[in-house]
Amino acid sequence: MDKIIYLFEALSVANLGLAFVGVLAGIVIGALPGLSATMAVAVLVPFTFTMNPASGLIVLGAIYTGAIYGGSYSAILVNAPGTPSAIATTFDGFPMAKRGDGALAVSLATLASVIGGLVGALLLMFLAPPLATVALAFGPPEYFWLAVFGLTLISALSVGNLLKGLIGACFGLLLSMIGVAVIGADVRFTFGSQTLIGGIDIVAGLIGLYCIPVLIDLVATKDPHLKVASDSSGFRLAESFGILMRQKFNALRSAVIGTVVGILPGAGGSVASLVSYSEARRSAKNPENYGKGEPGGIIATEAANNATVGGGFIPTLVLGIPGTPPDAVILGALLVQGIKIGPQLFTSQGSIVYTFIFGLLIGTLLMLPIGLVVGRYAYKSIISIPKAALVPTIAFLTVIGSFAIHNNLHDSAVMLGLGVIGWFLNRAGFTPSPIVLGLVLGQIAEQGFVQAYLIGNAQQNVLGQFFGRPISLAIAAFAILTLFYPLIAKAIGARRARKSDVDQTVESRKADV
């Protein structure tokens, strides 16, 4: 293990201090909706020019990983994903917080994030070059099917209300089309408005659809925002560990899914967490609990989204293709420093790369103590702050957060507009999650579809593009399985129930004897 020497380099006091500060700053920025990992990384880039490259990378990596994790706080505590990666964390996190299990949810998110981050970083360290080929194996048809797979989650999110869920998803897909189209450059559905020409930013949509309805209802009544747990003391760490041990396969599977999806440029943490959430729910013993405050849901999404950090660096460092937007900023920083990216980086600049990966691992481990303390503090202040201060503060965050996405007030207007529409639709039984799913996955689905069609057309083999590629077919099969799994599970469950009835009678007879 010649790599170990770099571990000691990463463990220098200065680098440890940098990682600590980076994680802490990242958590705070990530927790504020709209202030993203990309922004945090971009602001820090000039400062890192004065450091040596490895230390600079350690800070950037620490901020990045902290910000992705920090997004879970606002998702859990105020139903507003701090980053798009935390969308699926709201599904179960907020219901848990509402019923008084906020501390547990935050602890679980912390543990799962650390596991996800470690898996992602370890895969980056040991398997980066082979895994980078995954990014290349994914062409337009694969992205299309991946988005379709993500959309099948609608059937799970709108149990008993499938028609409304489908309408919501269509509405979300249409929202994703607003603005200048990447393919064809049509100006779509803007109705002449300058505000809409840039399209609806996913983050603005998220803040609006999830957070504004909560605020609107919050001012209307006297009830507190979150129920205060009977025993609000402590992290509930032992309980979290217990749950995590029972869900270890879920956590590991989600971390691997997160790493692989993170490798795909253009997919990112939001898709990773949605796909792993969908998988976790499908393979769970109690799928009906998902969406109502099931710890497994938080574990799946948080393990997956933090794994995308390591995963995203794989194509960035191996191919020079940034896997996620923050990676693009870091890649630019490397270029300005004169470091050449590519397959040779791991050999020619091994010391920088491995010091960085160890730094990422250390940053991820530091997230555990820092996250537990900050998370507990965040939870406590959310439940103890009076409503009269909580509501305007969250409202303030929604406005500046949506503004800060592109430093543009158009996004704030879009955010508020969607929020009011979302509140009204929710009243009529159209829940926000299918709309968000459509909004997040629409671009990926559409571009994948049209590009695959154009390529197929040029090769005179359109059907081959969609149905002639093994990875496509595998993803499509998973999509179908997820879609119809509730039916299959029911059938299996019914048979098993009959069988176990028989078993029980047999056993009770034995006991009699």
């Binding site: 990309t38 990384v41 971009a42 880039v45 000039p46 990014a135 290349l136 194996a137 994914f138 062409g139 337009p140 603005g179 200048v180 189209a181 990447v182 393919i183 064809g184 450059a185 100006v187 002449g192 300058q194 020409i197 840039g198 399209g199 930013d201 440029p265 253009g266 194509p315 191919l319 020079g320 293709i321 940034p322 937007p325 990676d327 693009a328 900023v329 870091i330 890649l331 630019g332 270029l335 300005v336 004169g338 050449k340 990216i341 590519g342 397959p343 040779q344 592109h406 430093n407 543009n408 158009h410 996004d411 671009q443 571009q447 590009q451 154009l454 390529i455 040029a458 090769q459 005179q460």
Partner: protein
Amino acid sequence: MRIGTLLSTVVFAIGVTSGIASAQDYPSKPINYIIPFNAGGESDVAARFQQPFLEEVTGQSIVVQYISGAGGAQAWSQLNGMEGDGYTMMGSNLPHIILQPMAQDVGYTTDDITNVYFFQYTPDALLVPAGSDFQTLEDFVAYAKENPGSVTISGSATNSANHVATTKLNELADIQTTYIPFSGTSPSMTALLGGQVQGSFSYSTAALNQGEEIRVLAVAAEERLPSLPDTPTFKELGYDMVGGAYRGIAVPSSTPEEIRTQLSDLIGEVNANPEFVKKMEDAGFVVISIPYSEMPAFMEEREQQYQSVAETMGIETSSN
């Protein structure tokens, strides 16, 4: 402490709003440099290269900020609403500021953008994967001639510099290729490396990043690039194609003439620094110097160029 911050913010804000542009002591405070794209792109990287050199010649700090959206249009449509005191400048990109308003109403026109300097461009580069059968541009063109429409070329977005380059090559070589637009340079490059498409139009900078994974068939520069000495130009291969994405700096239209010239001179000073030029060229940029005084002629020439390409691309010149 809090009061201290508040006070300093008040003082700062008053200073900003009431700061009367005075040409004598310009620049006398930090200059905001707004990039109309996300961090990490070519515009951002180039600005980061400029930053320390600009700070040296101005003696002031240069604050790089980002206002992104709609391919830059969100920022450019706001430009003239900003303070014209010389302390706000914005990245300006060609062909974007010409093609965008030509194709649709994006909230600004080409004439609304007051460019003071164009300092670099990244020539278009035609790339194929390293393992491709196309060894030269000739191979590529010959194959495309035999199989009209079947060669796929990826690029970033529709009506973009990459799209213009593909259209122009089709026209000059009399071939028919299929342009596949992607949502950005990275997805476009991924599609090329993964063999989803046969070729890709990108910039010289991207060609350098990918190193040995790809082969650059030709670059659309006047002469060979120092960073890619073995790659021929389109010109020497017989295709009159020089172009790419030009990047410059623009100011709000209310900025006084004197300040515009001063700013142009300052940027020119950076451009003349051999250390800066070396850094830029190593990363694949081509440093050019089009100061404020030469701007009208340069813009007219570029506008005419894009006008003709736009017609073949089917962009209808809108009435505004």
